[in-house]
């Protein structure tokens, strides 16, 4: 007996089973990890900048603001003009070496930011081409996250929509103990839920989940583009829910 045959068979199976979903999972992971790296680098760079120019640093505590404000230069003269504050500072006066180090680390931070946005764009494109219907309901990033959490389109399509609704919810365990299940998981990030008032979010999430799982099924079984029809149905349902909420609050 020899295991060569088994190895060949296993390799064939692996090759056959790897799919676009695996690529999508890796890309989501790449985005998350580079975001984390960006945050770590931002903190260290921020501290360095704080040492040099604390007056400006206190106004630039958010990462995105920090990166965009220091785009044109990091010296006190350049930053003070942009922020409309005095260039006089009680911070430590960096020498030329220190200045170049500071501007280098800001440049790395900016590169990382651009890199992350670039991957997000590519991911969006991949989802748009591969899963048209799911994309039209949930958008690129959210679809990708749903696919990751469900471990592939097939699993997502075979799930009951009530499960899609709470997919990725972290309170699910404590929720069980409290005898109350969560309203939403990953879908919380969807703009429809974000834009809805608190009291109808659960209903919106249910409608959204039902359309999302329908879209996943269309993508899996036929692959045709039914997105306009699905979008219309979802819109109608959301309208109904919002109308109901207004009637109720009017009473």
């Amino acid at each position: 007996m020899d295991n060569k045959e088994y190895i060949v068979r296993a390799k064939e199976t692996i090759k056959k089973n790897l799919s676009k979903d695996d690529l999508i999972r890796r890309m989501v992971n790449l985005i998350d990890e580079s975001e984390a790296a960006e945050n770590v680098l931002f903190e260290a760079t921020f501290d360095m900048f704080f040492l040099y120019y604390p007056e400006a640093a206190v106004m630039l505590k958010e990462r995105d603001k920090f990166v965009s404000s220091l785009k044109s230069g990091v010296s006190r003269d350049e930053v003070s003009q942009k922020m409309l504050i005095s260039a006089q500072s009680f911070g430590y006066d960096l020498d030329a070496n220190g200045m170049s180090l500071l501007s280098d680390s800001v440049a790395r931070l900016r590169e990382l930011d651009a890199f992350r946005i670039d991957i997000a764009g590519r991911l969006d494109n991949i989802v748009k081409v591969t899963y048209k219907n799911l994309y039209s309901i949930c958008g690129g990033m959210l679809s990708a996250r749903l696919l990751c959490e469900a471990k592939g389109l097939k699993n997502l399509a075979f799930m009951p929509s009530s499960k899609v609704q709470i997919l990725g919810s972290t309170v699910i365990f404590s929720g069980r103990k409290a005898d109350r299940s969560p309203k939403y998981g990953l879908l919380f990030k969807h703009s429809l839920i974000q834009d809805s008032p608190q009291n109808i979010r659960g209903r919106v999430a249910r409608a959204l989940a039902s359309k999302a799982s329908m879209a996943a099924r269309v993508d899996l079984f036929s692959g045709t583009d039914n997105s306009t029809e699905l979008d219309k149905k979802l819109e109608e349902e959301i309208k109904k829910i919002r109308g109901y909420a207004i009637r109720k609050s009017g009473r």
Partner: protein, 223 residues
């Protein structure tokens, strides 16, 4: 160095802190960064209880593991092959371990391991669908299962019924959190024991803490 036999090709190293060692089948190679020891001209790999549940079972004082030199073992949930490599050490070149794993990414490492160790037979398949690999697995002496699934006891019994010889034995690693999170660990484990005892004889049931949290190993014999 004093060595004391723990199982076939597995030894306790008794000076200082107690360590479990298995005789390295692929000389000079480590699998997951474990330490290598050379004692009296033979090379051994350290077997850590917090990396491998089978090692934890030995650390908890269970000594009657029936995986022997030359055994045929069906291993469900091989993952990247940490424990599989030690099983491969135990059974030696004349044995065979049929390692079933569902996830492709884990399977890649398993395949690489199998290329180094000719007694590992990798199978990329779902352990709950026994039909898909029944042609490739002969009757085995031992079944080992470590899959984190709700239905794991059912899957274990199904596989045992198909592939394990009469008089063979097996170990199932119960991860209570993946069977039911809302129930206390003890109740999940005793429910699994009840289900198992209908089909086979439970030799011993061992909780694996402090090495592994919320885990139990149940050693059974098929009569």
């Amino acid at each position: 160095m004093r060595l004391e036999k723990a199982a076939d090709n597995v030894f306790w190293m008794l000076n200082g802190r107690r360590r479990l060692l298995s005789l390295n089948l692929a000389k000079g190679e480590t699998v997951y960064g474990e330490r290598l020891f050379t004692i009296a001209g033979k090379e051994y790999r350290e077997w850590m209880p917090n990396r491998s549940k089978l090692a934890a079972l030995l650390f908890k004082g269970f000594s009657g593991i029936d995986i022997r030199f030359g055994s045929k073992v069906l291993y469900l949930g091989a993952s990247s092959g940490t424990t599989v490599s030690h099983v491969s050490d135990i059974i030696g070149p004349s044995g065979a371990v049929y390692a079933v794993e569902i996830a492709e990414e884990m399977g890649v490492n398993l395949v690489f391991l199998a290329e180094r160790r000719p007694n590992i037979y990798p199978i990329i398949a779902d352990a709950s669908k026994t039909e898909s690999y029944s042609d490739f697995v002969p009757k085995c002496d031992f079944i080992y299962q470590d899959i984190a699934q709700r239905e794991q006891v059912k899957i274990f019994l199904k596989n045992a019924g198909m592939f394990v010889k009469q008089g063979g034995s097996g170990v199932i690693a119960i991860k209570s959190r993946s069977i039911d999170v809302s129930m206390p660990s003890e109740r999940v484990i005793s429910a699994a024991e009840r289900e198992l005892s209908k089909k086979c004889k439970i030799v011993r049931s061992v909780r694996l803490d402090p090495f592994q949290k919320d885990h139990a190993m149940i050693y059974v014999r098929f009569v």
